[in-house]
């Protein structure tokens, strides 16, 4: 309909910023967070009117008390967030991050207890094993979807349970791994633990850097490679991608395996984290419970608009308010209150489409105003 573009001028530059998809996604996430916090505050008011303000301050600022832990807890959900977000770019809803996470964790544990290696090599092998475990658990629903057209939501939910029960069974059957007395896994050898970043009272370790690095790599894959081009094309329009000769079957399988691998890495990073007490390590308790970090990944991905870079920020943010949330118990709040607040934020970010439209409507006027300063009136 319109004819020519305002090219290369300052107006176009501002237009780019204000009309960019990433920008409006960011604004809508911000709106979701603000609305979520406001309503969360109201919930807190209704629970303990007198302490709501102090508790709310704890949520907002508590994370600063231990930034190390913010990053430590952000790492696994960053990975599961990538697991959900990456698959979503292809139009697949990977709800199986939890099972993939557990499977990755088990593979990492297995490598940690089985191989006798020295430090850098051992934990690197453990991380790779974690990737492999998760990838396998993503691959299977991928195969079902690609070859038999079985809905990935259903298979991946089932594989959450299959994975969890299998891992719990395997752990308890493995005497090297399982200590019946504590009903938890044994301590991992130090060589299998990830190098700590040396922040006091925190298990934060190199994996946060690895996770952020992987997110950047995924961003590059999605936006700069032919594979990413095909992946997003298939996600947007399956028919057109078929018309263009893309191999949907192959791409679905690869995408689900990569997504599973991301969640598997999350499980590996969580269990391989260094302990703060020498001679100990993180342990796993096989009590037939699905890993919550897998489901938190859905929240992280949604808030991050399924973009790898957005997911880095949303994972850190969610971890941040979760840390703050745990402090509210000091003021008599149940820690569940923070889950409620997060849930509300997620609820609003699910409206991101709407938010984007609202944000877009008002923001569009800004560049028009600015561009008037730079542009002559168009000829009539």
């Amino acid at each position: 309909m319109p004819d020519k573009v305002v090219k290369g001028t300052e107006a176009a530059y501002f237009k780019k910023i204000f009309k960019g998809k990433a920008f409006s996604a960011f604004i809508s996430a911000l709106l979701a967070i603000i609305l979520g916090l406001i309503i969360g505050f109201i919930v807190m008011l209704s629970a303990h009117p007198d302490k709501a303000a102090t508790g709310f301050r704890a949520i907002l600022t508590g994370g600063f008390i231990s930034l190390g832990n913010v990053f430590y807890f952000a790492t696994p959900i960053l990975m599961t967030g990538l697991a959900v977000g990456f698959a979503f770019k292809m139009g697949l809803f990977n709800i199986g991050a939890s099972g993939q996470y557990t499977m990755g964790m088990y593979f990492a544990l297995y490598a940690g207890f089985t191989f006798r290696l020295s430090s850098p090599l051992h934990w690197i092998i453990c991380i790779l094993a974690g990737f492999l475990g998760g990838a396998l658990w993503g691959l299977i629903p991928g195969l079902f979807k690609a070859l038999l057209n079985v809905n990935e939501v259903i298979t991946s939910i089932m594989f959450n349970y299959i994975g969890m029960y299998l891992v719990d069974m395997w752990v308890q059957e493995n005497p090297k791994m399982y200590v019946a007395a504590t009903s938890r896994t044994a301590y991992l050898p130090a060589s299998a633990q990830l190098p700590s970043l040396g922040i006091e009272n925190s298990s934060v370790n190199v994996s946060i850097y690895i996770a952020i690095g992987i997110a950047v790599i995924l961003f590059i894959i999605l936006n700069m490679t032919t594979f990413g081009y095909e992946l997003k094309a298939t996600g947007y329009n399956r028919h057109a991608s078929k018309y263009a000769g893309m191999n949907g079957t192959k791409n679905i399988i690869i995408a689900m395996a990569i997504a599973g691998g991301m969640a598997g890495l999350g499980g590996a990073f969580a269990i391989l984290a260094p302990a703060q007490i020498a001679g100990s390590s993180m342990t796993y308790e096989p009590i037939n419970r699905l890993a919550a970090n897998g489901f938190n990944g859905i929240a992280v991905a949604l808030l991050g608009n399924n973009s790898p870079l957005g997911i880095i920020i949303s994972a850190i943010f969610i971890s941040f308010i979760q840390r703050g949330g745990t402090l509210t118990s000091k003021y008599g709040f149940k820690p569940e209150i923070i889950d409620v607040v997060i849930a509300i934020i997620i609820y609003f970010s699910a409206f991101s489409m709407l938010m984007t439209i609202v944000a877009g409507k008002y923001l569009r006027r800004i560049p028009a105003g600015i561009s008037l300063l730079f542009r002559k009136m168009p000829g009539r």
Partner: protein, 515 residues
């Protein structure tokens, strides 16, 4: 003073960077068929969207029977009796026809839909206006023609008496078009007022009383159809004279490029075969047209050729190589270009930018990718080149999201992409659907140029003008079989029509198929 049922006075609607409607005035009389004519992107759809409440105009006023009204949304429009059949239908595909018609105004008692009452009203409307429908069919399964009748019934069900048709004939077969014209005349006859958006001059001459012409967002004028000619209208619309006949020399067919041998294709909607034992050749340097009424197997033949669907038996040979079982990519590499029938479903990724869509068939080639990375600068340059060469208009050039482009320009982008791709065989399905005369002229010229450059062209079209003017040889399909092979030079439109409707079939051809 004359009484107008709807007046749009001095409407101005701006989008960032462009004035889509610039001080446009349109007056609709009661009981008239008023055509709104203009090229793609002239602002017709925008103007109608303003009337229907989808957009708010910055300036101007809408009056009904002389009284100013405010239309903030389609519900307001509906309350004023304004109904619209959109170019791309707004139907819920997994609902039945009946459910779609009553959607939003379901008669209900205690929360239960009174389907019986609704069905009676719908069926009586259907009978009264000759709008044949099957109320219980799933919408996704019915033909485009019936979907449109469903849209029309939706308006009637809501007792609308100002009816907007946005390019209603773009998707119809010739028979359906003449039926629709009849129906529109019927509506006008009983006092309903019709706004008819189109860029097909024949239809305007045939059915409209008056015509308002838009060009580049401005109103060029309103004329009485009785006092004007096609040539005059096209000059008003395009701003220059346009030729309606396709100029081409006699075809000089050379070697066989495509050979289809005894191909059958299973149907998706019924148990019988959609294509039955079809054989034909297309040679380099000729345009062969697959003609026929929609739903007689032409689409399935094309799907089998391009690899979108499997054949159940038979062989497809391209340049001597058997491609019956080849992948779509392999066929594309072996030299098939394909302008698909449904540009939104197959032709474009609407959420991708124009430049990303331009690279859709070629992104994997070394020119556009390097070690798995897309060479964005090469894509940008290539898209820019195609945009200029084929005059594809959009608000932001190569970075425009395809969804935000007008239908005609989306089609131009696809045509540009497929013509520019290296190919031996061009399969063009309804290539000018939804385009204006200027663009049609251009694309037909391109098809002929492609032919003259030694390409084989297989054209599938429902439009008789296109079939007769562009093709060198016509294959008529009826009920999944090729029932006639005609030479457009010596065949009359009437005879073609007889073949298309199945009243006449070519004995020799039938025997050949059987043997």
């Amino acid at each position: 003073m004359e009484e107008y049922i709807i007046e749009m006075i001095g409407i101005t609607k701006e989008f960032p960077g462009i004035v889509a409607n610039d001080d446009i005035t349109l007056r609709l009389r009661k009981g008239e068929i008023h055509a709104l004519l203009g090229e793609n992107g002239a602002g017709k759809s925008t103007l109608m969207s303003v009337l229907f409440g989808l957009y708010q105009a910055e300036k101007g006023e809408i009056r009904k029977l002389g009284k100013p009204v405010k239309i903030n949304n389609p519900n307001d429009a509906n309350a004023l009796g304004i109904g619209m059949v959109h170019q791309h239908f707004k139907l819920v595909e997994i609902f039945t026809v009946l459910e779609n018609i009553i959607l939003g105004v379901e008669p209900a008692k205690l929360g239960f839909i009174q389907k019986k009452a609704a069905r009676e009203k719908v069926m009586s409307l259907s009978k009264q206006y000759g709008l044949k429908i099957n109320p219980d069919a799933l919408t996704e399964k019915i033909s485009v023609g019936m979907q449109q009748r469903v849209e029309i019934l939706k308006m009637l069900y809501r007792n609308n008496d100002i009816l907007i048709f946005d390019e209603p004939t773009a998707v119809l077969t010739p028979q359906e078009i003449s039926e629709l014209m009849e129906i529109m005349r019927g509506f006008a006859g009983e006092g309903k007022s019709i706004l008819f958006i189109t860029h097909k001059l024949n239809e305007i001459m045939a059915v409209a009383d008056r015509c308002t012409v838009l060009r580049k967002g401005k109103c060029i004028g309103t004329v009485n159809i009785g006092e004007t000619t096609k040539e005059e209208l096209s000059r008003m619309m395009v701003g220059r004279s346009v030729s309606f006949t396709v100029e081409k020399a006699k075809a000089k067919p050379k070697e066989v490029v495509l050979s289809v041998k005894n191909v059958s294709v299973a149907s998706k909607t019924h148990k019988n075969l959609a294509v039955r034992n079809v054989s034909f050749d297309v040679r380099a340097g000729e345009i062969v047209c697959l003609a026929g009424i929609e739903g007689n197997g032409q689409s399935e033949v094309v799907a089998a050729l391009t690899g979108l669907e499997k054949v159940s038996s038979g062989k497809i040979i391209l340049c001597g190589k058997d491609i019956t079982k080849a992948s779509i990519r392999k066929r594309s590499k072996s030299g098939i270009s394909h302008i698909p029938e449904d540009r939104h479903k197959h032709g474009l990724i609407l959420d991708y930018t124009l430049e990303e869509n331009m690279a859709l068939q070629r992104y994997w080639q070394p020119q556009f990718s390097n070690a798995g990375f897309i060479r964005k600068r090469a894509v940008r340059r290539y898209a820019g080149h195609l945009i200029e060469q084929y005059d594809v208009r959009s608000s932001q050039g190569p970075v425009t999201i395809a969804r935000n482009m007008s239908g005609g320009n989306q089609q131009k982008a696809i045509v540009a992409r497929e013509l520019d791709k290296e190919h031996r065989l061009l399969v063009a399905v309804q290539p000018v659907r939804g385009l204006d005369v200027g663009a049609i002229e251009y694309i037909h010229k391109q098809l002929v140029a492609s032919r003259d450059a030694g390409k084989a062209v297989l054209l599938m079209s429902f439009e008789l003008d296109e079939v007769m003017n562009v093709s060198d040889r016509i294959l008529v399909m009826y009920e999944g079989e090729i029932t006639g092979e005609l030479d457009p030079e010596i065949t009359s439109v009437q005879e073609l029509g007889l073949y298309m409707s199945g009243a006449k079939r070519d004995r020799a051809k039938e025997n050949e198929n059987a043997g």
